[in-house]
Amino acid sequence: MPTPQAAELTARSIRKEFGEFVALDDVSLTIGRGAFVTLLGPSGSGKTTFLMVLAGFLPPTAGEVHQDGRDITALPPEARGFGMVFQGYALFPHMTVAENIAFPLKVSRRSGAEIRRRVAEMIEMVGLSGHGHKRPAALSGGQQQRVALARALACEPAVLLLDEPFSALDKNLRGQMQDEVRRLHREIGTTFVFVTHDQSEALALSSTVAIFDHGRLQQAGGPQEVYERPANRFVAEFLGDINILPISGAEAQGGVGHGRFEGRAIRASCGAAGATAALAVRPEHMRLELGEPAGGNAIPLSVTDLTYMGAETRLHLVSGGGTPVILSVPTAAMPAAVTPGAAVWAAWAEDRGFFL
């Protein structure tokens, strides 16, 4: 089996209008050879539209799509030869599993023997041995998903595009399928572009996360980068719970921002953007202290509520000025004295806070 040639895809200033409505606005993104890129965003943010532009099903209103440096904007989808897993699977309901997987091979005029060999290989690869003769309606959601993957990968595409493949699956199955897709990506080495609205799925799977909102690309970067250094408030809030503290008199000096939160001096490292009036700290990056710590960033708070979540406990706190703060503490390390109404301190390292 020849190893497929993974492709690099580049979108340049893609704009897509539906009548008056702007679904994509100036989206530029490079998807590296063999990368696993997720397109993440809330429903209606333009993820599917962008995927359809990459696949060639939708012509962009403006902008270009390049594959390995070649302009493919005008190339129809059938000439691009990408694999695609549609939202809702889009299997052929009247064909068996084997026939579904054989369809693209027949279209590309492979010999009968090769089709049989390849279909058997794909069925084996996605773990559907023994189900080849079944119709999609006789399969579970997870199994249908595997058929869609096998069908999309049958012709060794240079790029595999997946549109919310797991959104219809329950949580356990979803985790299992995520592992499966990661394994397939490792084994095949082709370029994956994966759409999801689930931030933990995006962080867990990909080498690059591209976050969309209202048709604009908000930020693209590695999972740790976008989670810990979000480019803006939308990204920060979309990727997980975050505490946002209003800061007065913020100013930057040599890469460190200073300011005051309800009168207490706060320091945080800041980039070129400088210090702003909003400091963000993730709940798991804050430390719970019973008394005032000796140094560093710390603010006094009172407990309003506790939520037991198994391995961790979430503390809901409020500052004297009324700013809500969430803290997540390992349940095993939870002091017994912390009950609703108790006065506590939250402390965090200088490099854990960032200005938005």
Binding site: P77, G81, Q87, P93, F103, V107, S108
Partner: protein, 273 residues
């Protein structure tokens, strides 16, 4: 249980009307078929052995089969235009489907008569163009009956087919296209098989409907292409032979009930294969 009682009370008047208007007369016919002119199954034996009656049954089946194939094929094309056509095509198709419903079956049969008769539009055009010397026999035969019935039944074929087409997930077609399948392959190997349940439903509906046709074959067949319903009429009103007419009616009813049962099984969701 209370639910059922309630619906029975609400549906009661309708059920009584149906019983009075259909079931009682049918029971009467059933009685005639085994009592006139003398008690016994003689009329059924006669109906199923009389070559004339058998030829009418055979002709009815033949005409209905041809009409079904033609109506469903044409209905498929019309449904394609209706579901997938541009906005103008869609509107025009819709008009062409719905307008016939407002025109009486009698008017339509006479319309076809004026188009197909010896001095009708078609023959006078062809003669005027010098293509034929003698008028073609387009009506008062099976051909005319088939044209008139097909025209009447196409809209009924369109509905189940269009509904099957509407339920086809567009992404499945996109998937096929993305794999490089051409339009012909997508149609024959994906779209047509996916809409086949609608086609079967339409075929059964049209076939069952066509078996009982009376006015159209009577007018366009001109007495030379008699179908079962017209045969029953003739045996009741012209050569009074009520027992035989009743027996033929019962046979027709049983045949239609059989096809209807098949239709219901096809149409019942969950049971669909």
């Amino acid at each position: 249980m209370r639910q059922i009682t309630r619906s029975l009370v609400l549906l009661g008047p309708l059920l009584i009307l149906l019983a009075l208007a259909y079931i009682l007369p049918f029971l009467g016919i059933l009685r005639w078929s085994v009592t006139l002119p003398e008690p016994g199954l003689g009329q059924y034996r006669a109906a199923l052995s009389d070559p004339l009656i058998l030829s009418v049954f055979w002709r009815t089946l033949r005409i209905c089969a041809v009409v079904t194939v033609l109506s469903v094929s044409a209905g498929y094309a019309v449904a394609l235009l209706w579901v997938w056509g541009g906005p103008v095509a869609r509107l025009l198709t819709e008009l062409c489907i719905f307008i016939p419903f407002w025109i009486s079956v009698l008017t339509r049969a006479f319309g076809w008569l004026s188009i197909l008769s010896n001095r009708g539009l078609v023959n006078s055009w062809l003669e005027g163009a010098g293509l034929i010397a003698e008028p073609l026999a387009l009506v008062r035969n099976e051909f005319g009956v088939i044209v008139g019935m097909t025209h009447f039944l196409i809209p009924f074929a369109v509905f189940p087919i269009a509904s099957a087409m509407r339920s086809v997930d567009e992404r499945v077609l996109m998937a096929a296209r993305g794999m490089g399948a051409g339009r012909a392959r997508i149609f024959w190997q994906v779209f047509l098989p996916m809409t086949l349940p609608g086609v079967l439903g339409a075929a059964l509906l049209v076939f069952v409907f066509s078996i009982g046709f009376f006015v159209t074959p009577a007018i366009l067949g001109g007495g030379r292409s008699v179908m079962v319903a017209e045969l029953i009429y003739l045996r009741i009103f012209q050569s009074p032979d009520w027992g035989l007419a009743a027996a033929v009616s019962v046979i027709l009813m049983i045949a239609i009930a059989g096809f209807l049962a098949l239709l219901l099984r096809k149409m019942t969701p969950g049971d669909a294969r």
